[in-house]
């Protein structure tokens, strides 16, 4: 070894490694590591790459169903949607980079998740984004919203993948640590899926895409280190995205994938060349010998350390079948991309790095991966919140005013300002656009559709991580169901604070437990996901946010419904039952100024029964519009349906002993609001299914009424609902 820099305790600490972890490295290596080797260990053993705090818990998530082709463990998960088609999807966080440089942070987040999907052979057909910002009053929020939205649009629009759905909410807990979670959904033939396990001693290892620069070195460790005020000094670690090159890379990779040339392929994500080569070698149980002089470089005099740790974007690593190099090279050259054979597969089981004729790194791959630390960190359950009875929550002075407040509050206000900056129609298969419960994208050239959504209610998760975890999964399932689609599987993005604090670890453990219960009961397995920890600033943690991305299948898009009210004179029915649960409701927060009580409990058996019934009623064409009940409750859902259909309604239901405001704003789970033309037939079907339904009003007019009394006109409601975000963003 010529890399003579000696490893001091300071260097070890700067690499985010503990003394024990360094001892382990010494025992794996049997000698002092070179600086390049130390860098490789540090990124491979970072929270981001090793999942050292979360692994023990993630194992508890159900990951199997007859339609699951590939669960967690590859670049993305894969499900079977029939007819030889497969859907590949995953969600990933880009929280810290987006806080530091919102445009590029968000843009490269989109770029990264796209690569996870097309690296497996899927043509990306939809993007989603789940966003959490700090309080609108916080001085940084506006700038962050503006940059993040522009960045997501800037990347997705340019590569030509429609951004069709997402969420965007605000809470002071995200003031110093926003969340940017991006999801990509891709489509492939079931027999043309590509995996990352390298094989074939002697096979060439090929680098394609952009050149390597000194971008984001230490990015992976940064993404795992808690924020401090001075972390803005770490700024230059942010990378710049190049969506044009990504578009070329997508086309070139898919073109090569149509040939019989690729043994294994892996994108270079966090920790670039290091994690891609180590993962490919480890999965295949082989060694890699890389000649770093052959790595296409953008900068002069790059060191092996820099090349191995660079996070330059838009790059991929492949193992080719012997003799396919020329064919592959021709395709990448045609698309004006770099192509270089940088090494070969060996039978040594080691990652061997050569630079200028010397060996600068030589690490046994198996222990580098298997000996990565794994912690069962101490955890504490969140104490249950004291119960809150509907009677303890005051009625509003006026129902109409409460509705105004809710429909114009940051969390419920229309997000049109966001999605109109996203090309949500490119590829010409978006059959349900943003604004409903789930977006629906047609499977190109067929009549099938994919229903896509992201969901999570962090305030529920904070109050009760187990119920909150259940609810996030249930809401995703419900949103898909509300279009008429059958929910198939989810991806997740687990955004939490510092796992070294037992209360945070308890939130994580609780959310996993709740999610696992819901996934099992709803047959809605987890097929991919991502963990983002240390989302704290100066000891203030974010709300626990297990964001769920759900995918469902519509056999025939002709059977799809939207939330828009359709016909005056139709009936409105509520499916499910209301107990008037106001704990942690938006009514409580926005109208009463309180954030307390337990979240609404989720009864998974009822959830499933009600959802299965709604789906069958949609398939039987008994339901012409449908919206699940979530944030804001029944009246808010009804108002959203009215706006979407430009038709008013009268809610004339009688709730018995339940206070009106509890019935109208309660956030009980497992409920839907549906528009029905033939009331009797619908009621008979519900009776047969054993599902409680209640006729609560009828459609018509241009006002929203409660028992014949006008609450608000459609025009005024629209103004309130549509104006908050543009006013906030544009009247700085």
């Amino acid at each position: 070894m010529t890399d003579t820099l000696s490893i001091t305790p300071e260097l070890v600490a700067e690499h985010g490694l503990t003394n024990e972890e360094y001892e382990l490295i010494l025992s794996v290596m049997g000698r002092e590591p070179t600086i390049t080797e130390l860098g490789i260990f540090s990124v491979m053993w970072s929270e981001h790459c090793s999942y050292k705090s979360s692994k023990v818990w993630l194992k508890r998530l159900p990951t199997k169903a007859p339609w699951v082709i590939q669960g967690p463990g590859e670049n993305a998960g894969v499900i079977d949607i029939g007819d030889g088609d497969a859907v590949i999807f995953k969600m990933e966080s880009h929280n810290h980079p987006s806080y530091i440089e919102p445009y590029q942070g968000a843009a490269t987040g989109v770029g990264g998740i796209l690569r996870d999907v097309f690296t497996m052979g899927g043509r990306p057909i939809a993007n989603l984004n789940a966003l959490r910002f700090g309080s609108p009053d916080h001085p940084k929020t506006r700038h962050l919203v503006s940059g993040v939205v522009a960045g997501i649009g800037g990347y997705g629009n340019c590569v030509g993948v429609p951004t069709v759905a997402g969420e965007c909410t605000f809470h002071p807990a995200y003031n110093g640590n926003i969340l940017v979670n991006a999801m990509t959904v891709g489509l492939a033939r079931k027999d043309r899926i590509f995996y990352s396990a390298a094989a074939g001693v002697g096979n060439p290892v090929v680098y394609v895409g952009s050149k390597t620069g000194r971008d984001g070195i230490h990015g992976a460790t940064m993404a795992s280190a808690e924020f401090t005020e001075d972390s803005e000094e770490k700024r230059p670690t942010v990378q710049v995205g190049d969506p044009f090159t990504e578009k070329l890379l997508i086309e070139a990779c898919l073109e090569l994938m149509a040939e019989d040339a690729i043994v294994a392929i892996q994108d270079m994500g966090a920790a670039g060349l290091t994690s891609s080569s180590v993962e490919m070698a480890s999965k295949g149980g082989v060694g890699f010998e890389l000649d770093l002089d052959r790595v296409p470089q953008r900068e002069e005099n790059m060191t092996p350390y820099e090349m191995m740790l660079s996070e330059s974007q838009e790059r991929m690593l492949m193992v080719l079948k012997p003799g396919s190099e020329a064919q592959a090279e021709a395709i990448f050259r045609k698309w004006d991309l770099d192509f270089a054979v940088i090494g070969r597969i060996t039978d040594t089981g080691r990652l061997t790095l050569k630079h200028e004729g010397e060996i600068v790194g030589d690490i046994p791959v198996a222990p580098l991966v298997d000996k990565a630390p794994e912690y069962d960190r101490p955890w504490e359950p969140t104490p249950p919140a004291p119960a809150l009875h509907p009677g303890d929550v005051p009625a509003p002075r006026s129902l109409g005013d409460a509705l105004r407040t809710l429909m114009g509050c940051p969390d419920l206000a229309s997000k049109r300002w966001i999605w109109e900056q996203y090309d949500h129609m490119v590829m010409a298969d978006t059959v349900q656009r943003p604004g409903g419960d789930a977006a629906v994208v047609r499977v190109h050239g067929t009549t099938k559709g994919l229903a896509l959504t992201t969901d999570c209610t962090p305030r529920y998760c904070k109050a009760d991580p187990v119920e909150g975890g259940k609810q996030a999964v249930a809401e995703a399932w419900r949103n898909i169901t509300a279009t008429g689609a059958k929910p198939l599987a989810i991806t997740d993005c687990m955004n939490f604070g510092n796992p070294e604090r037992p209360i945070i670890m308890g939130q994580f453990a609780g959310a996993i437990q709740g999610m696992a219960e819901a996934c099992t009961a709803l047959e809605f397995p987890v097929i991919s996901g991502n963990v983002s920890l240390y989302n704290e600033t100066n000891g203030e943690a974010i709300l626990p946010t297990p964001a769920i991305g759900g995918v469902g299948l519509l056999k025939d898009i002709d059977c799809m419904v939207t939330i828009a009210l359709k016909t005056a004179g139709d009936w409105l029915y509520m499916v499910g039952e209301s107990a008037g649960h106001l704990g942690q409701s938006l009514y409580l927060r926005e109208v009463c100024g309180r954030e307390d009580g337990p979240p609404p409990p989720v009864d998974l058996a009822i959830e499933r029964r009600n959802g299965d019934f709604v789906r069958s009623a949609i398939e039987n064409r008994q339901v012409v519009a449908c919206h699940d009940l979530s944030d804001g409750g029944l009246l808010v859902a009804a108002a959203e349906m009215a706006l979407a259909g430009d038709l008013g309604f009268d809610l004339d239901a009688d709730w018995g002993s339940l206070p009106d405001h509890a019935a109208l704003f309660g956030e009980d789970q497992g409920r839907y609001l549906v528009e029905v033309s033939e009331g009797e037939a619908f009621e008979a079907a519900a009776r047969a299914a054993g599902v409680p339904v209640k006729r609560i009003g009828f459609v018509g007019g241009d006002t929203l009424n409660r028992g014949g009394e006008r609450l608000i006109s459609l025009a005024e409601l629209r103004e309130i609902h549509e104006s908050w975000l543009p006013n906030y963003m544009e009247n700085a």
Partner: protein
């Protein structure tokens, strides 16, 4: 008073635009273009007449809005009219 502000990417930061321009120039037959970097050029007209004050205020504008100091550098020139 008039001012010229140049905002350029820091060395080492990827410049997709510059790279694409270089490539396009080569395709058009311009040989020997070894590197291209694209930046912004902003001309401002200020009411301020005191050069020192103008410069201080421009510096603040650059840090707060005109440049993204995470990835960009800036220079300020005051121009006599």
């Amino acid at each position: 008073m008039k001012a010229h502000v140049h905002v350029t990417l820091k060395t080492g930061v990827l410049d997709p635009q510059g790279k694409a321009i270089q490539h396009a120039l080569a395709a058009l037959g311009f040989d020997g273009v070894e590197d291209v970097r694209q930046g912004k050029f902003i001309e401002l007209k200020l009411a301020e007449t005191d050069a020192e004050k103008a410069r201080a205020s421009l510096d603040e504008m650059c840090r707060k809005l005109l440049a993204n100091t995470v990835i960009e550098n800036y220079t300020i020139d005051l121009v006599e009219e």
